[in-house]
C-alpha cells in the first residue's frame, strides 16, 4: 500500500528506504544498521553501581566511607550512582517463588528493594544537592550531572512485569548489574564501575572456597567460555557486553577498601577488569 511517506523517499538515506520497504526481521536490514555511526550521549559520565548485599546491607561501616569517597570525587568526576537490591530481595524472591509467582512479578518486587537502597543512598547524599531520579525522569539527568556532578537511581532496569523468564529457575535474570550496564551503554559512558565486597573476580566464590584464584583482567568471551559455576556479575551483562557498541570494559572493585573507587575513576587497573576481547569494531 502507498503511504504519504513513500512519496517522500527522497528525504531518506538508503538505509531509510530499506527500513520503510523491508521487514525489520530481515537479516540484511539488520546487517545494514550495523554499519551506522555511534554517537555517545554522555561521554564523560561514570556509571557506578553500589552493591546491595555487598555494600548497602552492611550499613554504616561500609556505606559511610564510600559516600565520603563519592563526595570527594564530585568535583572531578560526574557519576550516575545505581544501587543493587540485596538481602531483602532474596527474602522476597524466596517468598514469591514459594507462592508460585512468575518472574515478572518477582521483578516488580525486587525493583522495590533496589529503590529502597537508592533512597537511603540519596538521603546520605542529599545535602550535597544530589537528586534521586526515576527511570521516567532520566530526561533531567544531563542537567543534574552538569550542576551537581552526580545522580542516584535504582539499578534495576524498568522491565517490571515485562522481565523475560530466565533459561532456568525463576529469579529475574536481568537485575541491577544489567540495569546499570545498559545505562552506561546507552549513554556511551566513560566508565562502568561495580562496587562490591570482593577484590574482584575469582575462579570460585572466595567467601566459600580457600583455593579461589584471583583474576585481575580477563576477556569477556574467555570468561563466558570458562562457564564458571558462580560469577561476580549477572551473566546477561557479559552477554550484552559482547554485543555492546560503546562499553569496551567494566571494572569490579572492593568498596570496603578506601581509595579503590578513586583509583578506578582515575583509570587505574584496581580490582578486576573484564574487557571485550577479539574486538573487531
Amino acid at each position: 500500500m502507498k503511504t504519504p511517506i513513500d512519496d517522500n523517499t527522497s528525504f531518506l538515506t538508503d538505509l531509510g528506504k530499506q527500513l520503510l520497504s523491508g521487514s525489520l526481521t530481515d537479516a540484511l536490514v539488520q546487517q545494514a544498521t550495523e554499519e551506522t555511526p555511534n554517537f555517545a550521549i554522555l561521554p564523560w559520565v561514570n556509571v557506578v553501581k553500589i552493591g546491595g548485599q555487598s555494600i548497602m546491607d552492611r550499613g554504616r561501616s561500609a556505606v559511610y566511607p564510600l559516600v565520603e569517597e563519592i563526595v570527594t570525587n564530585l568535583s572531578q568526576y560526574k557519576m550516575i550512582l545505581g544501587t543493587g537490591a540485596g538481602t531483602r530481595a532474596r527474602h522476597i524472591y524466596s517468598l514469591g517463588i514459594d507462592l508460585g509467582l512468575p518472574t515478572g512479578v518477582l521483578t516488580v518486587l525486587g525493583t522495590a528493594v533496589a529503590w529502597q537502597n537508592a533512597q537511603m543512598l540519596h538521603y546520605l547524599l542529599a545535602k550535597y544537592g544530589i537528586p534521586f531520579i526515576e527511570p521516567e525522569g532520566f530526561g533531567t539527568l544531563p542537567h543534574y550531572l552538569m550542576e551537581r556532578g552526580a545522580v542516584v537511581c535504582q539499578g534495576m532496569p524498568p522491565y517490571k512485569l515485562w522481565e523475560p523468564n530466565p533459561a532456568t529457575g525463576r529469579i529475574p535474570p536481568q537485575r541491577t548489574d544489567t540495569g546499570c550496564f545498559l545505562i552506561a551503554e546507552v549513554f556511551g559512558a566513560r566508565k562502568m564501575i561495580y562496587v562490591k565486597d570482593e577484590d574482584g573476580l575469582y575462579t570460585t566464590d572466595p567467601k566459600k572456597s580457600s583455593t579461589a584464584r584471583f583474576i585481575p583482567r580477563i576477556g569477556v568471551k574467555e570468561l563466558l567460555a570458562l562457564d564458571l559455576e558462580d560469577l561476580i556479575v549477572e551473566r546477561d551483562v557479559l552477554e550484552f557486553m559482547t554485543r555492546a557498541r560503546n562499553i569496551r570494559e567494566i571494572q569490579f572493585i572492593n568498596g570496603l577498601r578506601p581509595g579503590q573507587l578513586t583509583a578506578a575513576l582515575n583509570g587505574d587497573p584496581v580490582g578486576t577488569i573484564i574487557y571485550m576481547d577479539g574486538d573487531a569494531r
Binding site: 525489520l24 527474602h91 527511570p135 517490571k160 512485569l161 529469579i171 545498559l182 558462580d230 557498541r245
Partner: protein
Amino acid sequence: MSFDDSSWQHVESSLMRESLMDKNVIARSDGQVVPILPDVNIVQIGGRSIMDRGRSALLPVLEEIVANQSQHQMIIGVGAGIRSRHIFSVGLDLGLPTGALATLSAKDSAQNAYMVSCLLAKHGFVYLEAPFVVQLLPAMLAAARGAVFNGIPPYALWEHPPLVGKLPPHGSDAGSYLIAEVFGARSVTYIKDVDGIYTTDPKIDPAAEFIPEIHVQKLIDRKLPTLPIEPAALELLTRAKLMRNFRVINGLTPGNLSRALAGKSVGTLVRQ
C-alpha cells in the same frame, strides 16, 4: 580492616547470603507458577500490517473484537509501524543508540494503541499505560470490559543491545507475549496481514510454503529469512512456564480472530 560478617545485616531466607549468579542457586528457584489472569486473551494488532492500512483493515478487526467481547475477555496490544521505521532511519543516521531508538519507537505504538482505545471506548475498553498495567489491570478488567495497551515493552533506554546492528529487538510482539506469560493468559493471537508463517515471504515468493503448526525450537532452527513476528518473541516462547503457544493469523480475513479465540485451527500455531 575486617571484612567479616559482623557488619552484615541479613534477613533470613532460603536465598540468604547466596550468590544469585550461582548456577545451583538458580536451578533451585524453579517450581510451580500460578496463573494470575488465566481467562484473559491477549490480542495483538500489528502496526505495519494492520494499523498503517487505516480503516479498511482496522475497523473490521475491531468489529470482530467487539463481537467476541461477551464471550472472551481480551486485552489488546498494539504495534508501531511505518512511523517507527522512519524514526529509526533518522535516529540511526544521527548515530543514536538502541536504547534511544527503543524509547522513540514506543511512542509510535502508544499513539496506535491510543487510537484503538478511542475506537473501542464506547464498548468499555480502557487504555492502560505500563504503570497502570502493573498496578491496575485486574481491577480494570473487573470494572471495564477490556483494555488496550502499548505492545512495545517499557524497556526504553534499557533495551537490550541486539545480536546484530542497532534495531531494538523487543517490539510489540515480544511485549504482548511477555504480558501473556506473566499473567498466565489463556491465549496470544497476533493479527497480521499474512495467513501465518511461510517458508519465505509470500508477498515476494509465489513458491512460499505455508506452515500451519510448528514447534518453536524447530522454527528457530530453520532460520527463515523473514518472519511475520519478531524473533525475540520466539526466544521468549522457548522459556515459557505458562503461555506455551501463540497464533499468527491474517486480520484481513473476516472470522479468523473468532476462530482463533474459539481455539480452532487457523493461521499458524507456534508451540513450545
